[in-house]
Symmetry: C2
Subunit: 308 residues, 2 copies
């Protein structure tokens, strides 16, 4: 087996989906979990995605040869501080955080020099807006990219083991620097989420509108934003505060472009609208051609999203 004892700290959507991958592919003899919400840990054992549920991150990490941090990134520092003293030489730590520079800084500052502890920072680029251990499912990662950003505590043997784990989840692997990761994710993920949160807030606050009507007709566009804006509040607070500079710059760029568009509408510049909308339609085609919106996988994911 790839691992003997895997500790998963934080057993939400990503943690529990990865636990399912570990069990399904027999990659670990034992999967032990800790979540600060005791119900989550209990539930994970109950539904069979984990073998043991323990009362602290340190208890989970003790004796593990792999520790996976899958809490919101804001908790990484505290957890790392707690688990380092109990880790044995050669233990691999990995994480699934959506911001890498901050995540790495929070974890690495607690790794003692010459401890022999290995760290492979990771980010499986996959998800739904659901949270909790029951929201997870085996196919979540299928066909998506997993970005690894190995740094000064990495070894090539550990990088290969972590890659093998994600390949078992049917992910494609990419490696890059944490800086580059954070820049790309700011554009393709952080800004879109921020805009979705913002517009759902704006529309929900409009006075002179019946809120029931907004919900009733939401299928005409608003609904798709609510799906994104239904994502975990703690996770997104942590992401946005910890990739701040790039995000603030992108907001400015976005507002500039939006105001130009507003001006096109005000002055009846239909040709400029048409030109922009034709360009965005072309980008949509590129996304489909790159198989980043695939019917079979999407159907599975959508079925899971809507499973109530």
């Amino acid at each position: 087996m790839l691992f003997h004892r895997v500790a998963i700290v934080g057993i939400g959507l990503i943690g529990s989906s990865l636990a399912r991958v570990l069990k399904h592919n027999r990659l670990a003899e034992t999967v032990v979990v800790y979540d600060k919400n005791p119900e989550y840990g209990k539930k994970a054992v109950e539904i069979g995605v984990a073998d043991e549920n323990v009362g602290s991150a340190a208890a989970a990490a003790a004796g593990a040869d792999l520790v996976i941090l899958s809490t919101p990134v804001g908790a990484y520092g505290e957890i790392s501080k707690e688990i380092m003293p109990v880790l044995k030489k050669g233990t691999i730590i990995t994480d699934v955080g959506s911001v890498k520079k901050y995540a790495i800084a929070e974890i690495e500052k607690h790794i003692p020099a010459d401890s022999g502890i290995v760290y492979i920072p990771g980010h499986p680029v996959a998800g739904t807006e659901k949270s909790g251990p029951e929201a997870g499912f085996l196919e979540l990662f299928e066909g998506r990219w997993c970005i690894l950003t190995p740094g000064k505590f990495a070894t090539s043997a550990a990088l290969e083991k972590i890659s093998e784990m994600w390949r078992a989840a049917k992910m494609k692997i990419d490696t890059m620097t944490p800086e580059h990761h954070d820049k790309v994710m700011a554009a393709v993920s952080h800004l879109p989420h921020l805009i979705a949160f913002s517009i759902v807030g704006t529309v929900a606050d409009l006075e002179g509108y019946e809120q029931q009507e907004i919900i009733k007709y939401s299928a005409s566009g608003f609904r798709d934003f609510t799906r994104i804006a239904g994502s975990d509040p703690t996770m997104w607070r942590d992401i946005l505060l910890n990739n701040k500079e790039t995000i603030l710059e992108l907001i400015q760029r976005f507002v500039e472009d939006l105001i130009a568009l507003e001006r096109n509408i005000r002055w009846d510049e239909g040709d400029k609208l048409f030109e922009l909308f034709s360009r965005t339609q072309k980008i949509r085609k590129e996304v489909i051609e790159a198989k980043q919106d695939q019917p079979e996988i999407e159907k599975k994911i959508l079925a899971e999203i809507n499973r109530e």
Copy 2:
């Protein structure tokens, strides 16, 4: 049968889906189509969703007891002017336009007083981002709302017939004033589309980014915006220019809220982010509870969206 001869002017996504409903439910003896793109009309007959393809809107409308306008709304005025002389007394006109005040003004100005021509303005609130007769499908309207805004050229008999047609498409019917329709749609549909077009443009224009990387990792949020921003350019140009006042007001509101959010990020006000994201998560739950995001229907629609 509900109708003898139905003329559909504009045989794109909505027109061809409605044609499928008419044929499938045997609501019309003959469905005749005209599209300014001659390939669309030919294709509609070829795939069996229409019986006849003719060379002009007037040729389609001649002898029809129902004329459906399903082109972009910017073309309604010209088409109405062309077809009115050939319509017989009692003919019902309906449309599917996403802005109602403008659509009604463009059509009604060409209806001669005392002509006996009846007009029931309509808006089936359904769609995908695809265009053309082959993009249509029978289930497009299922479970969605159809808004009718009957005015001075309506009769209750015609209102009932048009309602029956949309009920056959499995839509739920609502009636309201055109003003109210345009205000609600500005919030739930026009603003979200505008924002999606805008952000896809912004991200695509970012210098210092590899466009291939943007596409590659698009599944992490950006992709969902490209889906909306892949909608028909002509249709959306016409909508945004013809519901201008409400839309400009909403853009202002949105920018205000976004800048407040930007400030929260800059000043590390995590509690305010958390509060907003918790509210948007609650709204997401309301959308699901209102069954505006249903697994079975969505799966069908998604399969169609991704059908290449």
